[in-house]
């Protein structure tokens, strides 16, 4: 089991060495946030800042996001999903592998604060402590600690994660995370079995376990009639304020000019009406086919809790089913939508 603390020490050490030996110009990692149980991106050229680098269960942002913003050689701390987003950016020619030093974090999964809040009935800032101990988490409220299985508070996308260990890295901060294969198999099974099926415990090794499948929301949606589903999304997208946080937090939404910003022709009105909001999200999803790595960033960022992962994960699965393609696995492969293979037609056109 990798301890966050050990990885954190190693990260600070490696980052310092990289700057000192002039191997990179910029370090991108995480530091403690200004609020309890939050972290914030640390983007720095200065050695003196590096003792602020942290690794803990709250380093949720996908740092691949920042890479196209900066010139020069960059060292970036990267979880499993971040590394896939980096590879995907390389495939799309947005960054060059030669400019990067990827510091891989074998990822044990991120704690979803909104799940903790639901579990405890308290807001984040009313909690005394959240401590992860292997496959358990101890949450302290008003001085009283309670223990829960870690799977109850991990993000859905982490529970479903197929590759928690970075796919591509120069430095790895610990032993590769076990269980990736198993969690994949189990999440497949649960998809087949439908809602309410259970992902079994994976035994030792800090495996990701969950009572409900991480995709149970998706299954509930799929079980609805098209009318019910339409009604469901109408209601959800009526709340959308078109803040574009979902787009801007997404490393795969790298377009300098998004279609929603075009005014001639106007593809989409700027008004936050549910029809336009839904259309925006639908088109965004199509643009992300073969790019989305299921990092969970968009849903986590939405200020009005729209269940965006129900759309992105479905696209992720479809891409896998129809094209046998997973985003960000091979930096030399052409991006999914830019090439064509003969046998695809059979599957796709029905």
């Amino acid at each position: 089991m990798n301890s966050d603390h050990k990885m954190q020490q190693k990260l600070r050490h490696e980052a310092k060495a990289l700057l000192e030996q002039d191997k990179v110009d910029l370090i991108i990692g995480f530091e403690a946030g200004s609020l309890k149980f939050t972290t914030t991106p640390l983007i720095t050229k200065s050695k003196d800042d590096l003792d602020r680098l942290v690794i803990n269960p709250f380093i949720v942002n996908n740092l691949a996001l920042f890479l196209p913003d900066f010139k020069g050689r960059i060292a970036v701390a990267s979880k499993g999903c971040d590394s896939r987003s980096i590879v995907s950016l390389i495939q799309d020619n947005k960054v060059s592998r030669d400019d990067l030093v990827i510091i891989g974090i074998p990822c044990p999964g991120m704690i979803e604060l909104r799940k903790v809040e639901k579990l405890t009935g308290k807001d984040r800032d009313e909690l005394d402590d959240i401590i992860r101990e292997g496959d358990k988490v101890v949450i302290t409220v008003d001085g009283k600690g309670s223990e829960f299985p870690i799977a109850e508070v991990l993000s859905d996308n982490c529970l479903a994660c197929e590759f928690p260990t970075p796919q591509d890295y120069d430095i790895l901060l610990g032993e590769p995370t076990a269980t990736s294969q198993e969690s994949r198999v189990k999440s497949r099974e649960s998809r087949v079995k439908g809602q309410g099926s259970r992902v079994q415990s994976h035994g030792e090794g800090g495996g990701l376990q969950s009572e409900a499948s991480p995709d149970s929301r998706l299954q509930t949606l799929k079980a609805m009639s098209p009318q019910q589903r339409w009604e469901f999304w109408r209601k959800e997208f009526s709340r959308c304020i078109r803040c574009y946080a979902c787009r801007n937090i997404c490393p795969s939404c790298f377009c300098k000019r998004c279609f929603v910003e075009e005014s001639e022709p106007r593809w989409l009105m700027p008004m936050p009406r549910w029809q336009e909001n839904l259309m925006f999200q639908a088109i965004r999803n199509i643009h992300l086919a073969g790019r989305c790595t299921d990092c969970g960033g968009c849903e986590r960022s939405c200020p009005v809790n729209i269940p965006l992962r129900c759309l992105t994960k479905e696209m992720y699965d479809l891409v896998d089913e129809l094209f046998h393609f997973k985003a960000g696995m091979d930096k030399d492969a052409p991006p999914l939508m830019t090439h064509y293979e003969q046998e695809e037609a059979e599957d796709l056109i029905r």
Binding site: I241, C243, A245, P270, P272, R273, N305
Partner: protein, 380 residues
């Protein structure tokens, strides 16, 4: 040469208003928490009532955690013990995210225009009637409305905002449990501030103490049956609660000379690039800021009929300042600078008041924890 930007000052503007409406002697009443429903029921005869609601509590919002917004009161009893503040600020009740301004059509005799309904009626779809009563508004958000009033009355009288605002009653609720992101006490207000509401409620256990703050509030109280007079003891308990709450706001900023410090940092590109680096330039901190008021206007026309809309816009977006030949705020750091300076430098220059109430939304809702108090602290 110094440039005089000032149009009118917040204090002057409000001084007049306050004198006219503020009561000389304050009178306090008591209402049992379980009787709130019946009080709202009485008020609902004259007002459309909005209360803090918990939306989005479905299996789908992963997390099922709270999503607090102001919603139409459904007539049932309400319990606000869980309530801290809303995600969407109450400015949405006065400057909605989207509104239709007028409709137009092209006929044989040229264009004609009509208003969709009386301007200022609440919403596009349902046309909820005015006036509205906002129950449980937090002191910071009520202050924010006073700040917005300046904008919508100073250079011109906004015919959509003002009718909604003029008849509205704000029933404030003292924050006994401020968030760790709140810093209202640095901005001249606090969890028990009464300046901007008509009535102020304080939770004192099984009851709320209701203070009459304005004439409007007093008239409302006169028409309300089933209240008890508060004793001195009740008032003392409420004051104690307010004081304790004041002490619970621990986040601070230093506003001393802030506009001059920002003025001298204005050209410091290096500083702004550094603070802007992690910002993702989304619209959260502006859309959901109770004092941000920017809007965009668009026309939509199908065949010969159309309508003009306005909807929230944000200085965080590059499109906001895009013009045919150039964009003066193409770079993210320029937009971040605009946001900070507008609130802490330009607003003070124009109205002699900071356009931030310390509600903390921009901190707690930011996807990357960009914290305005940290940015300002770097200028200390």
């Amino acid at each position: 040469m110094s440039i005089e930007y000032r149009v009118s000052s917040f204090e002057e503007y409000r001084g007049g208003r306050r004198e006219a409406s503020k009561l000389k002697t304050q009178n306090s009443k008591l209402v049992r928490k379980k009787d709130i429903g019946s009080v709202l029921h009485q008020w609902s005869k004259d007002y459309t009532i909005f209360v803090p609601c918990n939306e989005g509590d479905t299996a789908f919002t992963v997390h099922g955690s709270r999503l607090t917004v102001y919603g139409l009161w459904d007539g049932s009893d309400i319990n606000l013990d869980w309530y801290r503040n809303t995600v969407t600020p109450p400015k949405a009740n006065f400057l909605p995210p989207l509104e239709e301004m007028f409709r137009f059509q092209k006929g044989k005799e040229g264009h004609s225009m009509e208003l969709p309904f009386e301007p200022g009626v609440w919403s596009l779809e349902s046309g909820v009637p005015l006036p509205q009563l906002i129950f449980g508004i937090r002191p910071c958000d009520a202050r924010a409305l006073s700040l917005l009033d300046l904008i919508f009355t100073d250079a011109y009288q906004d015919p959509y905002y003002l009718p909604r605002r003029e008849g509205a009653v704000l029933v404030g609720l003292v924050c006994l449990n401020p968030y760790d992101s709140c810093f209202c006490t640095s901005l001249g207000i606090g969890p028990g501030e009464s300046d901007d509401v008509d009535l102020l409620l304080t939770d004192i256990g099984d009851e709320f103490l209701i203070e009459e703050i304005s004439d409007k509030g007093k008239r409302l109280m006169e028409l309300t049956a089933g209240l008890k007079d508060a004793t001195e003891d009740d008032t003392a308990r409420a004051n104690e609660a307010k004081e304790k709450a004041y002490g619970r706001v621990t986040r601070k900023i230093n506003t001393e000379g802030i506009k001059d410090r920002l003025l001298s940092a204005f050209e410091d590109e290096h500083y702004w690039e550094k603070v802007a680096a992690k910002c993702i330039a989304c619209g959260i901190c502006t859309f959901l800021c109770p004092t941000c008021y920017c809007f965009d206007i668009s026309d939509e026309m199908v065949k010969k009929q159309g309508a003009r809309f306005r909807c929230w816009d944000s200085c965080a977006f590059a499109l906001y300042t895009k013009m045919p030949m150039e964009n003066p705020r193409e770079e993210k750091w320029q937009r971040v600078r605009q946001k900070v300076c507008h609130k802490f430098e330009f607003y003070p220059m124009t109205f002699d008041v900071i356009a931030c109430t310390g509600c903390g939304r921009c901190i707690r809702l930011c996807p990357v924890n960009w914290d305005i108090t940290q940015t300002l602290r770097l200028l200390d």
